[in-house]
Amino acid sequence: MRKTPERIEGLAAEYVLGSLQGSARKRFERWMMDSYRVRQEVWFWEEKLSGLAEVVPAHEPPKRIWAAIEQHLWPEKIATKAASGFSWLWPSWGLMATAAAIFMAVMLVQQPEQERYPLLSGAIVQENIKGPLWLLSEAGENGETNRLRLRPVAAEAAQPDRDYELWVVPEEGQPLSLGVIPVGDDVLQIELNESVRAALEKSRTLAISLEPKGGSTTGAPTGPILHVTKLYEL
């Protein structure tokens, strides 16, 4: 199709209006890439017709949209903030979390054994729920701390198509998955490889997110972070 000025003019206007569709739209986009003249015509219409857009009444978007944008652009920022304090949960992730997921870490009394590393432990609790949701403690053999024990206490099952996933939140970089975690009576023993153990030793921070059944498929949390907890040395 020849790029006569009349044709460019007509197609540019319909492109901006949105009435140019399908393969015709794609073909015109190639014209735009090829020709400054075509782009200029498009810009003319974009600017003129945006006057129509600017008279549409504003509508405040929900806060979760900014949180989602931040998470998309800077997932590492979320993780770093988590390690240095919990302020990032409010108002970003916190707004995505289910209602009243207010948490704190509590210390557990545990008799330390002779270990190479200090033992860490903690609990995930939620306001208004009696008892902890999960208890966490490190465990090991022969002086090697290489496992994390997670015992569900008051945790209830996620929605039918969702699972809880446990993460180590390192001081820097992406959260490291420790896998999907159970509710009910089963104690979960999680083997920690050396790098995960080292990251946990440094940040002492764990997080639980709500994920699709079977856990996140991207290697990073995709759903809301429901809980963040610090582990304590005993």
Binding site: A13, L17, P57, A58, H59, I69, H72
Partner: protein
């Protein structure tokens, strides 16, 4: 239309965003997201799709801020255009149909008021420096419904009870008249 001082402020923010300034990006979001979301909602006619479009639009703004230049209009019009295209893409990709029972179409039968709220039509006309008034009612309605609701030719044909061929010609002729007027 936004005042020049606001446009200047947006220009400063946008150039900071082009240098990957995250704080400027957040301030930009706080300043313009309401207007952009209003447009996305109007166009999509549903919350979920509008939210997705707004999110995508801002991610695009972050990555492409350096491509903005004054030939592309004011910063606000550039960002509104990004939001609008993204919403249109999602509507088409999801095949969201603009239903004929929509509130916006309730007054279609009324020749005087046309298919959009009178306020939008009046303000839109002012934004186009009165050029909409030079169009016939059919040309004006089909252009406004395409712009504000993302109607396809087929949807316009249904909404305006007019053959597709006529609708296409209304749009084509209407845009020509509009261009001559806007260039004056």
């Amino acid at each position: 239309m936004l005042e020049d001082s606001t446009q200047n402020e947006l220009m400063v923010l946008l150039s900071s965003v082009a240098r990957q300034d995250r704080q400027a990006f957040q301030r930009l979001y706080e300043q313009v997201s309401g207007r952009m979301f209003g447009l996305c909602k109007r166009l999509a006619g549903q919350q979920e799709l509008a939210e997705e479009a707004l999110q995508d639009a801002f991610i695009r703004i972050w990555h492409h801020a350096s491509e903005y230049h004054s030939d592309r209009g004011t910063p606000m019009s550039w960002m509104m255009t990004i939001a609008r295209y993204r919403t249109l893409d999602l509507i088409r990709a999801r095949k969201v149909r603009q239903t004929a029972g929509d509130d916006a179409l309730n007054s279609v039968e009324d020749e005087r008021s046309g298919p959009l709220e009178a306020s939008l039509q009046r303000d839109g006309s002012a934004a186009l420096t009165g050029c909409l008034d030079e169009l016939s009612p059919g040309q004006r309605d089909s252009i406004l419904l395409s712009y504000y609701r993302g109607f396809t030719h087929d949807e316009l044909s249904t909404a305006l009870s007019t053959p597709v061929g006529t609708v296409k010609s209304w749009i084509r002729r209407g845009l020509q008249v509009l261009k001559r007027c806007l260039e004056k």
